[in-house]
């Protein structure tokens, strides 16, 4: 085996936490002249088992049977973990607990808009959620009351087409499209003027759907509507609109949600390892996931052995933390359903910032709803341990530069890029450079990436490679079995330059992979 040079890739995928071969492997990885195109050998690929449910990026997100598949993925665990939510009456109080908490920060939703005005129509992306009885649940712009007749029409269209044993998908007009997603007992509708494909918009609606599930569980949602078909779900969701608002913003701006991947805080691997092992040491009986975040960057994630977190669930956690300021005020304790793990049960999350005024946020996810004090203790143990180490200083230092400039790569015409390692589910991307610093420009470049993504991942006509020369920028996307790469060049860049840039960039990422990725994830 050792002599079989060509088979080097094999043991990596099966390597199971045994430390011995890692050093050698690391050597091999650096030596490989062109970074491996094979899954598991690309830059950023984890050396041990991966952190996330192995997701074929977004295909599994929009697949019809995704609910069942997600359940299958965690089925063995589901019975043991994840508190069953069908406790009927008992399920609801826990819900209200949560609502109360959310109500403390209603956010600044300027919803009072004239829904017949030109300004309302000009919004780039509308999202509506309604019940099967046609009752409004959520609208991104304008109040649900003002839009109740519009939503009534939406439901009428959905049921009219269903009466013919058919399913409505989308309506297309010049400059915008309307996409319908039927996820019983909810109906979601998106109206977008963006360049996004129908499937891409449908993916975003799935996110919104799972956001709502994460607050209620599907079991409870079904239970409610089975009892009372025209129930006004806003009563339960009141105060949580800002979560959906924020998630929609993330969908427009955060590449991670597009790529089905997470980005890490750049950190030397020795520092990260110390943090991970400190977190690993601070375990508790019912603790399933410990996640340390720095803003929207992952610092480290420690999980119970054999339990995997789906990137979508992680994004929902990110969104929960990112859209509420209350966690800054003290330790938060909230039930949350991680729908890709199990749509039926609640986890309980202990959420707190490590210190006042820092961006470091610790999320501890437990299966036990009475676990607050245990987890609070975990946090203190972790913090104590960490403070004694110099790594904590290094982490504080790293927080000052949560991102990096594209100029570090040394390709002048390269403006921005996204690189995703498929096997680890992690991606890296520099900060947006000068031409893309305004919100509008950021959303525009994200739209271009979304366009490339939807062409490359076309359900029946997928592509290996795409290169587009436009007047404002040149774009390139390349997908192999190991990675996905999206590049944005200045319009002056040539094709020859683009080709050489790919190699240069991949070499740079390989060189920096210790810092940019989590190569050795930990388990309890």
């Amino acid at each position: 085996m050792a002599a079989d040079v060509h088979n080097k890739a094999v043991p990596w995928e099966t390597a199971n936490g045994s430390l011995a071969p890692v050093e050698r492997l690391r050597q091999d990885r650096c030596d490989s002249p062109t970074p491996g195109l094979v899954e598991g050998t690309e830059p950023g690929a984890g050396q041990d088992s991966h952190m996330f449910v192995h997701a074929q990026s977004f295909e599994d997100l929009t697949a019809d049977g995704d609910d069942t598949r997600a359940e299958a993925a965690g089925s063995e665990n589901t019975s043991r973990l994840g508190e069953p939510a069908d406790e009927g009456a008992q399920g609801l109080p826990s819900e209200e607990e949560q609502v109360e908490e959310k109500e403390s920060h209603p956010g600044s939703r300027a919803k009072e808009e004239d829904v017949t005005s030109e300004a309302w129509r000009r919004h780039r992306k509308h999202v509506f959620v309604l019940s099967e009885a046609g009752k409004p649940i959520y609208s991104r712009y304008g109040t649900e009351e003002a839009l109740s007749s519009t939503m009534g029409v939406m439901m009428a269209l959905v049921s009219f087409v269903e009466a013919e044993k058919n399913i409505i998908r989308s309506i297309h007009a010049d400059g915008y499209k309307v996409v319908f997603l039927r996820k019983s007992p909810l109906v979601l509708v998106g109206v977008a003027q963006t360049l996004q494909s129908e499937r891409d918009l449908s993916r975003e609606l799935h996110y919104i759907y799972y956001q709502i599930i994460s607050l209620l569980t599907l079991t409870q949602l079904n239970h409610i509507f089975q009892h009372k078909q025209n129930y006004d779900l806003r009563r339960l969701l009141a105060g949580s609109e800002h979560l959906t608002d924020n998630l929609l913003k993330l969908l427009d701006r955060d590449p991670g949600l597009l790529l089905s991947a997470v980005t890490c805080l750049p950190l030397s691997s020795s520092v990260r390892d110390v943090i991970s092992s400190s977190l690993q040491a601070a375990k508790a009986k019912n603790l399933v996931f410990s996640i340390l975040l720095a803003g929207s960057h992952l610092v480290t994630l420690v999980r119970k052995k054999d339990q995997y977190l789906h990137h979508m669930d992680l994004h929902l956690l990110f969104n929960l933390v990112g859209s509420s300021s209350s966690f800054r005020e003290g330790e938060g304790w909230t039930p949350i359903c991680l729908p890709k793990f199990n749509t039926a049960g609640f986890f309980h999350a202990h959420i707190s910032y490590l210190e006042p005024g820092t961006d470091l946020c610790l999320i501890l996810v437990s299966t036990d709803r009475e676990d607050f004090f245990n987890l609070s203790d975990c946090k203190h143990r972790f913090l104590e341990r960490l403070r004694r180490r110099t790594a904590y200083q290094a982490l504080q230092e790293a927080l000052k530069n949560p991102s990096y400039s594209v100029s570090q790569v040394g390709i002048p015409e390269l403006r921005h890029f996204l690189y995703k390692s498929k096997s680890s589910g992690l991606y890296t991307s520099p900060e947006f450079p000068v031409p893309y610093q305004s919100e509008e420009e950021q959303e525009r470049i994200m739209e271009l990436y979304q366009y490339l993504h939807s062409r490359i991942h076309h359900p029946t006509r997928p592509l290996r490679f795409i290169y587009c020369c436009g007047e404002s920028e040149n774009l390139l996307a390349w997908v192999t079995s190991g990675f996905e790469l999206y590049l944005c060049f200045s319009p002056l860049g040539t094709k020859a330059l683009a080709v050489s840039a790919i190699n240069k960039l991949l070499k740079w990422i390989r060189k920096e992979e210790d810092r940019l990725f989590i190569l050795s994830p930990q388990t309890y």
Partner: protein, 498 residues
């Protein structure tokens, strides 16, 4: 106990996209409840139950109305559902044409007793392509019937429904939805490449005929199903060209291919001087029973609204369309005059062109299988050229590449439409074919390269080389406009001499 024979019986069945419904309605015609049927002006298939017709029209109205919430001036153009796609088109105010196309599907047999599972392929139909097909339906109707509004003025709903019934009953049978592609979107015209001398000969021929037969308002000249000269507006010529090349010419090509003594061949006795004959109107001038009725067409419907007789006259591979105001009575005398004047000249001209064409072909050398195939379209003069399509016949257009590649071309075109700037898109398909789309200066070029191991730079070089040769085409077209100018001078001189 499954024998191999039975196993083959269990195979999947693939169904191509097909026309489910085609209807035309005007929401203003039955505004009150209970009167909905009055909105419907045409419905295919006609044997659909009344309530279902009303329901389907109602859905379209609702969809259009619903989208006006988001953009009052740009209502829905298509509706995607699991089983089908519907295309909406409002060619004249409040008149809506709707085409419902069933998605292609695969029927997978199940174990005994169970009905087969049907899987709809929802991503296979391209909106741009079928949207264009729908618009073409209207343009073709308008070419032969004029606008809906004019029919309403002339004879009310009754006349309009009659006209619609008569036209679409036949026309819809000629729609071949499974073989529509990017060329339908362009609806372009293929021009016949020609040297200047021959071009001038044709030009002066057209002038001489128009001079002698002053009734003629417009003339169009084609050779080998490709256009050489047209006096019509571009948009009118585009749809007339479509009619000639996909309907009229194919219908008449068979007797020509038949031998001289074949009964299929029309009587040419006593006409030894030339090979000219009418494709519309009288099939045999010598026949005392001959009818002198020509199809009517409507052009310039936006302003002068002209109704014209369409005379198509052909000698060997050369075909000429003469268009004469419909108010003129055309009888035996006129036709004989035209036959006597045009027949011999056109026969000569046709053999001239043929000779010239063969010389040019010899110069450029025999065609060897190239490494690439391409489609070129120029929005300014509607010129199109495709080396992907074999000859288009009435029933099918044969392409020489995989349908998925054709759809990728369509996808790239759709990307070009969204952004109003010059762009280039290069993609590598899963089958390792390279596809390049280039849009610049109102021109679009699509290339499929069969060099699987090539890299981006090599592909770029290959396309550059191709563009250089395509430049000859472009230059030829520039030469064409130059020739037009020369031709104008020549014709002025000619008129002066006479």
């Amino acid at each position: 106990m499954i024998s191999p024979r039975m196993a083959t019986g269990m195979q999947e069945k693939q169904y191509t996209p097909s026309l489910l419904n085609f209807f035309i309605y005007n929401p203003k015609f039955g505004p009150r409840e209970g009167e909905e049927e009055k909105k419907i002006l045409f419905y295919h298939p006609s044997d659909v139950e009344k309530n279902e017709k009303i329901r389907n029209v109602g859905l379209c109205e609702a969809i259009v109305q619903f989208t006006r919430t988001f953009c009052p001036s740009k209502p829905a153009k298509s509706l995607h559902t699991q089983k089908n796609r519907q295309f909406f088109f409002e060619p004249e105010e409040n008149f809506w044409i709707v085409m419902v196309v069933r998605n292609p599907m695969v029927e997978k047999p199940n174990k005994e007793g169970k009905p087969p599972t049907i899987e709809y392929q929802e991503e296979e139909i391209l909106d741009t392509v079928y949207g264009a097909v729908l618009q073409q339906c209207y343009s073709m109707y308008k070419l032969f019937n004029g606008t809906f509004a004019r029919a309403m003025e002339a004879g009310g709903v009754e006349l309009l429904t009659q006209k619609l019934e008569k036209f679409f009953y036949r026309y819809l049978q000629t729609l071949h939805l499974q073989s529509c592609d990017l060329l339908d979107v362009f609806g372009g015209i293929s021009f016949f490449p020609l040297d200047k001398m021959t071009y001038l000969k044709i030009q002066s021929f057209v002038n001489r005929v128009e001079e002698s037969l002053s009734l003629i308002k417009y003339t169009a000249f084609l050779y080998n199903d490709q256009l050489i000269w047209s006096g019509l507006e571009q948009d009118d010529m585009r749809i007339l060209y479509k009619y000639l090349t996909t309907s009229l010419f194919p219908r008449h090509s068979e007797p020509e291919l038949a031998g001289r003594d074949s009964p299929l061949r029309p009587e040419v006795a006593g006409n030894l001087l030339h090979y000219g004959r009418f494709l519309t109107g009288p099939s045999n001038l010598k026949d005392p029973e001959a009818k002198f009725r020509f199809p009517k067409i409507f052009v310039n419907t936006d302003d002068s609204y002209e109704e014209l007789h369409l005379i198509v006259y052909k000698a060997m591979s050369a075909a000429v369309c003469f268009m004469i105001s419909a108010s003129e009575e055309l009888g035996r005398e006129f036709c004989e005059q035209l036959d006597g004047l045009v027949g011999p000249q056109l026969t000569l001209l046709a053999s001239d062109i043929c000779e010239q064409y063969n010389i040019n072909r010899r110069v450029s050398g025999p065609d060897k299988e190239p490494q690439f195939k391409f489609i070129y379209f120029n929005h300014m003069n509607l010129a199109e050229k495709s080396t992907i399509h074999m000859r288009k016949t009435a029933s099918v257009s044969l392409t020489s590449v995989h349908p998925d590649l054709m759809k990728i071309l369509g996808d790239i075109h759709a990307d070009f439409v969204r952004v109003d700037e010059d762009e280039e898109i290069i993609v590598k398909a899963m089958t390792d074919y390279w596809v390049v789309g280039k849009k610049s200066d109102q021109r679009e070029l699509y290339v499929i390269l069969n060099q699987k191991n090539a890299n981006l730079i090599e592909v770029n070089e290959e396309v550059k080389r191709l563009c250089a040769t395509q430049c000859i085409v472009t230059r030829h077209l520039n030469g064409y406009t130059q020739t037009l100018y020369l031709a104008l001078i020549v014709s002025l001189l000619w008129n002066a001499i006479i």
